[in-house]
Assembly symmetry: D2
Amino acid sequence: MRKQYFKQEEGAPEPLRCTVERVARFEEVDALGIVWHGRYPSYFEDGRVLLGEKYGIGYLDLYRQEIIAPIKQMHVDYQRPLQFSDPFTIEAILHWSDAVRLNHEFILRNAAGEITTTGYTVQLLMDPEHNVLMVPPPFYQEFRERWQAGELT
Amino acid sequence: MRKQYFKQEEGAPEPLRCTVERVARFEEVDALGIVWHGRYPSYFEDGRVLLGEKYGIGYLDLYRQEIIAPIKQMHVDYQRPLQFSDPFTIEAILHWSDAVRLNHEFILRNAAGEITTTGYTVQLLMDPEHNVLMVPPPFYQEFRERWQAGELT
Amino acid sequence: MRKQYFKQEEGAPEPLRCTVERVARFEEVDALGIVWHGRYPSYFEDGRVLLGEKYGIGYLDLYRQEIIAPIKQMHVDYQRPLQFSDPFTIEAILHWSDAVRLNHEFILRNAAGEITTTGYTVQLLMDPEHNVLMVPPPFYQEFRERWQAGELT
Amino acid sequence: MRKQYFKQEEGAPEPLRCTVERVARFEEVDALGIVWHGRYPSYFEDGRVLLGEKYGIGYLDLYRQEIIAPIKQMHVDYQRPLQFSDPFTIEAILHWSDAVRLNHEFILRNAAGEITTTGYTVQLLMDPEHNVLMVPPPFYQEFRERWQAGELT
C-alpha cells in the first residue's frame, strides 16, 4: 500500500496531476547496474517542472513574479530499481495546502505499471530577500481560487 | 532544535561518527546561485562512504562479501543554502539498529558552524539475488559485536 | 561554417543520422543562467544511444556480444548558450571508418534552428579483457556490410 | 608521448600550474565500473577553479570585475580508466596566450603516477552583455604583466 505523505485537508479541492514519460539514461546508472539513488531528485523535478508549467506556477512564472520557491524538504522511498534504458513514468501530484507552500507527491512506475519509487517535496515561497511569504501573493492567490473553483484540470 | 530521525534503541551502543570537509563546486550550484537541492544525496554519500571505509563496512567491503546495500529511504531537510566555493562539513552518523539495516544520519554545517542541512538514509542488506538478509552475515555480525563491545571509535 | 571533424573516406557510404528532441532542465543550468558546459557529454550520449538503438549497435547490443566501446576522445565546440527550458535538438551522425571504431559527430540546434554546439566522440571496440579489437567482430562486420550496401536508412 | 595542445608562443613566460588531489566517487562510476567519460569536465573544473583562486583570476574574481569567461572549446583524451575509490591527481596548467583567452591544459594521473586522462579548455572573456573582449581589462592586464615579469609562482 502506498504511504499517504500529505493529509487531505477538509474541504480541499482534488490534487492537480500530470505525468512525464522518461527512459533511464546510461549516465544515471551506477556500478551495480541500477539507477543511482541520488538521481531521483532530478526525476521528481521533471514532474514538478511540467506540472508548474501546466498550471502557471512554474519556475519561470515565479521568476517573473520575483518569487523563489526553494525546496525545504525532500523524501524518497525506493521500492524497485530501474535499469539502463528502462522506460518509466513520473506522476507529479500537487496537494492542496492552506499554508503558503507547495506540497508535491511523486509516483514513478515502470513499464509493467508497478510502482518503483515514491516521494515528496515541500517548498516555501520567498521574496528576493529570502523572507518567507506568510500571505499568498496575488498571482498565487488567483491560482488557488481557480483551483478551489474547479477550473484547473 | 534538530529532528531526531532515529530513536535510540535501549541498550544500544553510541552511534559511530565521522566528518568530511568539502567545498561547494561550481557545477553543484543552480541558476539561483545556491547548491541545487538534488546534489545533497552525493554529499550524504561522501560521508557514508568515508564512515564505511573507516569501520570496514564500505561499498568495497560489502562487494567482497557479495552483499549489496541499496538505499531504501532517503530524507533531506534544507535549512540554510550553500553557495559556490562555500566550505562546509558533512558529519555522517551510523545509528545502531537491532534489525539488519544501516541507518545513517547526516548533518552539514557551514564555516560558521551553523547547520545548513540534515537528513538520513536507510539501507537494507541483500544477497546478489536481491533477497533481503534477515540474519546478519558473519562479517557484519562481527562488526556489530565489536561496536557493542565498544571497540570501534 | 561548420568544422569538418572527420574526413569522408573514399568510397565510404553516407553517414547514418538520427535526431533527439530535448528541453534544457533546471539542474543542467549553472549560476550564470546557462547550461553548464559539462552537461553536453550527456546530450551527446542521448544522441549516440538513440542512434545505436536504431541501427543495432547500442550499448545493450554490444553488451550481448560481450564487447565494450569506451570513449577514447571527446571534443565540444560551444557557439551559443542554452537556457533553462529552451527546447533544442541533438543530431547524432555516425561517420564511416575503415578502422574498427565508432566516430560520432553531434550537432545541437536551438528552436530557431541555429547551431548552438557541435562536437564529436571516438570509441574503440574492446573485448571484456580490455583488448582493443583490430578486426571487426561478426555482428559489427555484418552491420558494416549492410551500411555499405545502402540497407541502413 | 603527451600531445601538445597549445603551442608555446615565442617569448612567452612559463605556464602556471597547480594540482588537486581527488578520489573517484561512487556516483561518478558507470555500469561498466569505470568513471563515466562525462564526469571529466567536472574534474577539469576542479583544477581550473583552484588555479584561478591561486592566481586571482577565479570565477569570483571575474564576477567582481563583471566579466564572464565561458568555455568555448573542450577536449578530452581518455587513456586509462579510473575506478571507484581510486585516488588521482588533476594538474591544471595555464598556458600563455597573446590573445585575450584562457588556455588551460589538464593532466590526470593515477596513484602509480600514470597519466589516465588529458585535455584542455579554451575560454574567452566577455562583458555582461556577452561582447567578447578584444583588449584585456585592467585587472587581467595586471595579472599578465606580473606573470610576464616572473612574479607568479
